[in-house]
């Protein structure tokens, strides 16, 4: 392999990992909602779109840096998520209907309304936040003069990735160490047992939905400096997060992180070596292959390893 080819490969792998970190953050939100509520939130991508537009508005009106708007968008999305869960999804959970998938169809309705409202307010133009550091990058040759290879690391991508990792670490701390986090995990594991142990399941559901929305809203802010937005952007991210959750194993947080990284790498490789237009197909090829060969996802592989020892 010539050094140019190697450079391209390494560069592809780097951008794959960076993309994967952000994907993992999006998928984490969906995973915890799926774990606790046992429903798929099909408005997930649309919630991310809302987060992106919040960051965009803050940037273009008040000139707040997209990375700082995480602190505004995430709480706003938390409130939105809590509201959706409390006033729309919870009532439907009690309704007796022929199809048990009513809640999923309900989230589709919510997603449609959100996307369409965004179209009405912002038109369907592609928007961007022209941040000053958008094209800034670190080059390997700047740090190491005699480097045999030239690799670059985009500044906004790496900041987004770092913040995503930080948020993930905070989430892990919250789920593992705090009482509320433990209650959420208990609810996800066994609803009835949690109820018997005195966990306020209703409240955990509301908090979880809010938390999931806040995570995806934060991810939206992180995507803003490196991506463009348009009102229908949500659908593709809903699908991405679903593919990651299937890949990682349903309801498994570790699986979601690994799944995000795998998907990011794979997509980046398809985009480089096969063609940009095929990257989404690669995504779904993974999805189909996982369903056929490892239906339990990466998490099931990890688990079987553990029991094997």
């Amino acid at each position: 392999m010539s050094s140019v080819n190697l450079e391209v490969l390494l560069q592809t792998l780097i951008s794959g990992v960076l993309l994967g970190g952000l994907y993992a953050l999006i998928a984490l939100g969906m995973t915890i909602i799926m774990g606790v509520m046992k429903i798929i939130n099909l408005a997930h991508g649309e919630l991310m779109m809302v987060g992106m537009y919040i960051a965009f508005v803050l940037f273009s009106w008040l000139h707040i840096d997209p990375y700082l708007s995480v602190f505004i968008a995430a709480p706003a999305l938390f409130v939105l998520g809590v509201g959706l869960q409390k006033f729309l999804i919870n009532p439907v959970m009690k309704v007796d209907a022929i199809l048990p998938e009513n809640q999923v169809i309900l989230t589709v309705g919510i997603g449609m309304v959100l996307a369409n409202l965004a179209t009405i307010i912002f038109q369907s133009d592609y928007l961007q936040t022209p941040v000053s550091y958008a094209t800034k990058a670190w080059y390997l040759t700047d740090l190491w003069k005699g480097a045999p290879l030239e690799l670059s690391l985009s500044f906004p991508w790496s900041v987004s990735f770092t913040i995503a990792v930080l948020i993930t670490a905070c989430l892990w701390f919250f789920l593992a160490k705090t009482d509320t986090g433990k209650s959420i995990r208990a609810t996800a594991q066994d609803l009835d047992a949690a109820l018997l142990m005195g966990v306020n399941v209703e409240r955990m559901r509301v908090i979880t939905f809010g938390l999931g929305s806040a995570l995806v809203g934060a991810a939206g802010c992180l995507f803003i400096p490196i991506y463009y937005i348009y009102p229908d952007i949500g659908g593709q991210f809903t699908l991405i997060s679903f593919v990651i959750t299937i890949l990682g194993g349903l309801g498994s947080t570790v699986g979601a992180i690994l799944g995000g990284l795998i998907l990011g790498l794979f997509e980046s490789l398809t985009a480089t070596y096969i063609g940009m237009g095929w990257a989404p197909v690669g995504r779904f090829m993974i999805f189909v292959a996982v369903l056929i060969f490892i239906p339990g996802g990466v998490a099931s592989l990890l688990r079987s390893r553990k029991f094997g020892k």
Binding site: I40, D96, V104, G111, M112, V113, I246, L250, V281, L291
Partner: protein, 313 residues
């Protein structure tokens, strides 16, 4: 009376073109009937068998492209799509079923959703086969007048209606409902659930494919964004049945009438046109919360609401 209502409705519809409706009204009627066909197909799989599909656009699109490609590649009339689509769509449905029917409930729903998206992306990228984003244009239309199109789709609708009813009233239908109510219980009673779910999927897919074939011939132009559309095909299909009534014979028809008329009315109001998805979404939310079994399914509830019948003591 009740026994003959289907024949009466079909007969009345068949007489309608003789009244001399203008071509816009005929177009609306054709759309209503086409959507009720798709709705009936979805209802068979999702309403009766309980496997909620979010990807019926995949089957619709495959049907549409079968007809379109017969025309563009082989140079024969797109109407041959009707016999050809049976095999093509059934084959695709078998493949999708093999992959997706391993999943249950909401996971199946999302898997089918992504199938619809995969089909769209593949159709967009396989430029050599499908013509990519340029789509397929049928250059010579079979009839200028809409009357024959109307009779063809009416025949398809009538056939689908009787097929669905026949299936549901047979042993197969009971299997489907058993699977919907409790898959594990059905399995333990000796029902081969995978087999019957696949049968439901294929039947549903083939009927949807017919609607797709008709669409190509009627509209004369298809492209991946139109026939594999997530919101404008898959989700509207679900809405047609949810609004009309899940697991009822007449639900899809009622739903199709409401949805097509609603779409036309909203589109004709200038300011509201862009907001039609909002209104559809709100309608979906309201229906799910207040009439979870649709207008036909919760008809007694509606009657009570409007004071036509006193509430049960």
């Amino acid at each position: 009376m009740k026994k003959y209502i289907t024949y009466i409705v079909l007969g009345l519809l068949a007489l309608l073109p003789l009244v001399g409706l203008n071509s816009y009204l005929m177009h609306i009627l054709i759309l209503v009937i086409m959507w009720s066909v798709i709705g009936m197909a979805w209802n068979l799989l999702s309403g009766y068998c309980g496997q909620v599909s979010f990807g019926h656009a995949a089957f619709f699109g495959v049907g549409a492209y079968t007809a379109g490609m017969l025309y563009s590649k082989l140079g024969i009339s797109g109407w041959w799509g009707f016999p050809a689509s049976v095999f093509v769509v059934a084959l695709f449905a078998l493949g999708i079923g093999y992959i997706c029917l391993r999943l249950r409930g909401p996971y199946f729903a999302l898997a089918t959703l992504s199938m619809g998206v995969i089909f769209r992306i593949v159709a967009e990228n396989l430029v050599g086969v499908t013509g990519g984003d340029l789509g397929i244009m049928i250059r010579e239309r079979t009839w200028i007048d809409k009357t024959w199109y109307f009779y063809i789709i009416l025949a398809v609708a009538g056939a689908s209606f009787f097929l669905v009813r026949k299936v549901i009233e047979s042993k197969l239908g009971y299997y489907f409902v058993a699977i919907r109510e409790d898959q594990d219980a059905a399995e333990s009673l000796g029902i081969n659930t995978t087999k019957y779910k696949t049968i439901a999927l294929i039947l549903s897919a083939v009927i949807t494919g017919f609607a797709g074939v008709f669409y190509t011939n009627y509209m004369g132009y298809i492209d991946p964004k139109v026939v594999f559309a997530l919101h404008d095909i898959s989700i509207i299909t679900i809405m047609v049945v949810m609004v009309g009534g899940v697991a009822t014979y007449w639900g899809p028809v009622v739903g199709a009438i409401i949805m097509v008329l609603l779409a036309e009315v909203i589109r004709s109001i200038p300011k509201l046109g862009t907001a039609h998805h909002t209104l559809f979404g709100v309608l979906l939310i309201v229906i799910i919360i207040f009439l979870p079994n649709g207008i036909v399914g919760d008809f007694s509830k509606l009657k009570r609401l409007f004071g036509m019948r006193r509430p049960a003591p």
